[in-house]
C-alpha cells in the first residue's frame, strides 16, 4: 500500500437473484487500497471483478459486509449521497468508452464539471488541460463517431480525470483497443497516476494492462485468490 487507505473492504458479499435462487458474485472480500495506487482486479469472466468495481464506485451496494470508500460506507449512503460521491471524487473509464455520442469531445469532457460549481472559464481551462494530458487538443470539436477507438478511450480518460478525482475506476479499458493503442492509453494513465497521485483501480484480464499494474489482485469465484505487489 502506497499511502493511507482510501478504500476499506471488509467481508464483502454480493448476491444477485438468479431464477428462483441466488448467485453469489462476491463471497467475502477483504481488501484495502491506498492513495496513489495503480492496482488491478484480475480474473476471468464471472470472477466478480466488475461487481467489486461497481460497489467501490457506489453504483451498487453490498449484500453483506462493508465497503468504505473515501471515508463513506457505501451501504449507508442515500442515492443522493452516492451521486455526490461519484460526482466529486470518482472517475469512471468503461470498456466501451460510454461517451455521449451527440456531444463533442469538449462537451464530453466538460460534462462532469457541469455538475460541479465551476465557471465557464474554469471549465474551459480544466477541459483543455485534461485534453492536453491525453493529447487530444486538436479534436475538441469532433464527435465520438469521428474518432478512433484509441481516441475515444483517451476522451474517456480525460473525462474521468478532468475534475482530478481521488479515485479512477477502469473496467476493461483496453478490451476494444489494439496493442499500440492499449499501451498508449495505459502509459497515459500511468503518467496521470504519477503526476496527480490519483488512485487507479482496474478490472481486467488483459495481459497488456496486467503488465502495467503495480498491484495485482487475482479474483477467483468471488474471492481474492492471490495478490502481487510489483517493485516501483
Amino acid at each position: 500500500m502506497e499511502n493511507s487507505a482510501i478504500i476499506q473492504i471488509n467481508q464483502l458479499i454480493k448476491r444477485f437473484p438468479m431464477g428462483k435462487g441466488e448467485f453469489t458474485a462476491l463471497k467475502g472480500i477483504n481488501l484495502n487500497f491506498g492513495t496513489g495506487e495503480f492496482a488491478g482486479l484480475i480474473g476471468p469472466s464471472g470472477s466478480g471483478k466488475t461487481t467489486l468495481l461497481n460497489i467501490i464506485g457506489s453504483l451498487d451496494t453490498p449484500t453483506k459486509g462493508e465497503a468504505v470508500v473515501l471515508g463513506k460506507s457505501i451501504s449507508k449512503l442515500s442515492a443522493k449521497e452516492s451521486a455526490k460521491l461519484r460526482k466529486e471524487s470518482l472517475g469512471f473509464i468503461f470498456q466501451s468508452y460510454n461517451l455521449l455520442q451527440v456531444h463533442t469531445v469538449f462537451e464530453n469532457v466538460e460534462f462532469p464539471l457541469l455538475l460541479l460549481d465551476y465557471t465557464t472559464l474554469e471549465r474551459k481551462k480544466m477541459v483543455m488541460d485534461a485534453l492536453e494530458w491525453v493529447g487530444l487538443t486538436d479534436k475538441v470539436k469532433s464527435k465520438p463517431p469521428q474518432l478512433s477507438g484509441g481516441e475515444c478511450q483517451r476522451v474517456a480518460i480525460a473525462r474521468a480525470m478532468v475534475k482530478k478525482p481521488s479515485l479512477v475506476l477502469a473496467d476493461e479499458p483496453t478490451a476494444n483497443l489494439d496493442a499500440a493503442n492499449s499501451h498508449n492509453i495505459l502509459q497515459t494513465m500511468l503518467n496521470l497516476n504519477r503526476e496527480l497521485k490519483t488512485t487507479f483501480i482496474f478490472a481486467t484480464h488483459d495481459e497488456k494492462v496486467i503488465g502495467y499494474l503495480k498491484r495485482k489482485i487475482f479474483l477467483k469465484d468471488g474471492l481474492v485468490d492471490q495478490e502481487e505487489w510489483m517493485n516501483q
Binding site: 461497481n54 451521486a83 460526482k87 451527440v102 455538475l115 473525462r159
Partner: protein, 391 residues
C-alpha cells in the same frame, strides 16, 4: 435544472433528424391550431361586426310580442312609434322597421317572404335603402343575393307581392326589384323583401307603427319604452357565440387528433430513447447524476421539443399568419345559406392570449408525455444500464 436544459438542448440538436421530424410535426400542430382558432375568432368578430353594420346597430328595441322564430307573432308585433324615440329617429340614430309576412309569385310560383319596411333615408345600417327612392310605377323593393338566387329574381324584375293588412284583408301589388345587395348576414337576406317603411305602413294600414328599432346609441341598460323592450347587442349576437362555441368544441377534436399525433411521436421517441440510450443513462449516473436528475433531463428533453417546435412554428407560422390575416381564408363552398353570418372570405384574428394558451397547452402536454416514459429510468439499475442491458 439549468444543466438539464443545457444538456437537453445539446442532446436534441445532436439527435438531428429524429428531433427534426418531431419538431416539424409539433410545429405544424402549433400553426394549424393557432390558425384555426384565429379563423374562429376572426369569424366571430366579422359576424358580429357585419350584424352590427347591416342589421342590429348597437342594439334594438323589439315589440313585446315579436319572436323571430314564431311566425304567428309577426301579425301582432307592432305598435305606434313611441315619442321618446322620435328625436333619435330624426337625428338618424334610430331606424324603425315594420315586419309582415307575405308571399311573392316569381315566375308564377308561390314563395313565402318576410316583408320589411325601412326608411329609405336611413344611414345607420348598410342596407342600400336609398335605392327604395327609385321612381317606378311599381313598389320599389330591394333584396339580397341569396333571395335573388332562390327566387330567380334580378335587378329590374317585377313580381307580385301579396300581404294581409291589419284588418285581415289580403291585398297584392307588383314590386320591382330596384337593387340586389350582397351581405353576409342571412337574416336580412334569405326570404326577405325590403320596401319603404311609409309604403309598408300604408299598405298594412298601420301608420306610424313599427315592429322594432335598431339604434346607434351604445348605452347599456336602456329602459323599456311602451311596448318595446331592449335587446342588447350581446343578446342579439348570442347565437353567434353559441355557434362559435359549438364549432370550437368540434374543432377541439381535430386539435386533439393533431396533438395526439405529435405526442405519439414524442412518446415513441422517449420510449425508444430509454431503451436505446441505456448506456448513456448509466453514464450519467456514473458521472454523478441522481436517477431523478436523469428523469428530469429526459423530461426536459421531451418538453423541449415543444420549445423548438414553437421556434420553428414562429419561423414559418408568423409570415403565414400575417399573409392569412391580409388575404383571408376563402371558404371553399357557398356559405350564404348556412343560416348565419359567414363571409366568403374569413380573416383570422390572433391574440396574445390565443398564442400563449396554445403554447402552454402544447408545452404541458409534451411535458406529460415525456415524463411518463422517463419514469422508467428511476427503476433502472445503473450497472445494468451501463452495460446496455434491456430491462
Amino acid at each position: 435544472m439549468k444543466i438539464a436544459f443545457k444538456l437537453a438542448f445539446r442532446n436534441l440538436i445532436g439527435a438531428g433528424l429524429r428531433t427534426g421530424l418531431n419538431v416539424i410535426v409539433l410545429s405544424f400542430s402549433f400553426v394549424v391550431i393557432i390558425w384555426a382558432k384565429g379563423i374562429l375568432v376572426g369569424w366571430d368578430h366579422q359576424a358580429k361586426n357585419d350584424m352590427e353594420q347591416w342589421e342590429i346597430g348597437k342594439g334594438q328595441f323589439w315589440h313585446n310580442q315579436y319572436d323571430p322564430y314564431d311566425g304567428f307573432t309577426i301579425t301582432d308585433s307592432h305598435a305606434p312609434i313611441p315619442n321618446e324615440f322620435k328625436p333619435e329617429i330624426e337625428k338618424g340614430e334610430m331606424v324603425p322597421m315594420l315586419f309582415a309576412q307575405g308571399t311573392i309569385y316569381p315566375q308564377g310560383r308561390m314563395q313565402p317572404a318576410m316583408i320589411k319596411g325601412i326608411p329609405a333615408s336611413q344611414n345607420l345600417l348598410k342596407i342600400p335603402t336609398h335605392k327604395l327612392d327609385s321612381v317606378t310605377d311599381a313598389i320599389p323593393a330591394i333584396i339580397g343575393e341569396v333571395m335573388a338566387r332562390s327566387s330567380h329574381l334580378e335587378k329590374g324584375s317585377r313580381v307580385v307581392l301579396r300581404w294581409r293588412d291589419s284588418k285581415g284583408t289580403f291585398d297584392a301589388t307588383e314590386i320591382e326589384i330596384v337593387d340586389i345587395f350582397s351581405t353576409t348576414v342571412p337574416t336580412i337576406d334569405v326570404a326577405q323583401v325590403w320596401i319603404n317603411l311609409e309604403t309598408m305602413q300604408e299598405k298594412l294600414l298601420l301608420p306610424e307603427q313599427a315592429t322594432l328599432f335598431s339604434f346607434a346609441n351604445a348605452e347599456e341598460n336602456r329602459p323599456a319604452v311602451g311596448d318595446f323592450r331592449l335587446k342588447t347587442k350581446k343578446e342579439l349576437t348570442a347565437e353567434i357565440d353559441a355557434m362559435i362555441k359549438t364549432k370550437n368544441a368540434g374543432q377541439s377534436v381535430f386539435y386533439f387528433i393533431l396533438l395526439l399525433l405529435a405526442m405519439l411521436a414524442i412518446f415513441d421517441t422517449q420510449i425508444l430513447s430509454i431503451f436505446r440510450r441505456q448506456k448513456e443513462i448509466g453514464t450519467y449516473v456514473a458521472l454523478g447524476y441522481t436517477r431523478q436528475q436523469v428523469v428530469t433531463l429526459f423530461t426536459v428533453e421531451g418538453a423541449m421539443h415543444a420549445v423548438l417546435a414553437a421556434a420553428l412554428a414562429a419561423v414559418y407560422g408568423i409570415p403565414f399568419f400575417i399573409w392569412q390575416a391580409r388575404v383571408g381564408f376563402t371558404v371553399p363552398m357557398d356559405t350564404s345559406e348556412f343560416g348565419m353570418a359567414i363571409a366568403p372570405t374569413m380573416y383570422p384574428i390572433y391574440s396574445v392570449g390565443l398564442i400563449l394558451s396554445t403554447t402552454l397547452i402544447v408545452l404541458l402536454t409534451t411535458s406529460v408525455v415525456s415524463y411518463w416514459p422517463a419514469r422508467r429510468i428511476a427503476k433502472m439499475n445503473p450497472t445494468e444500464a451501463l452495460r446496455g442491458k434491456i430491462q
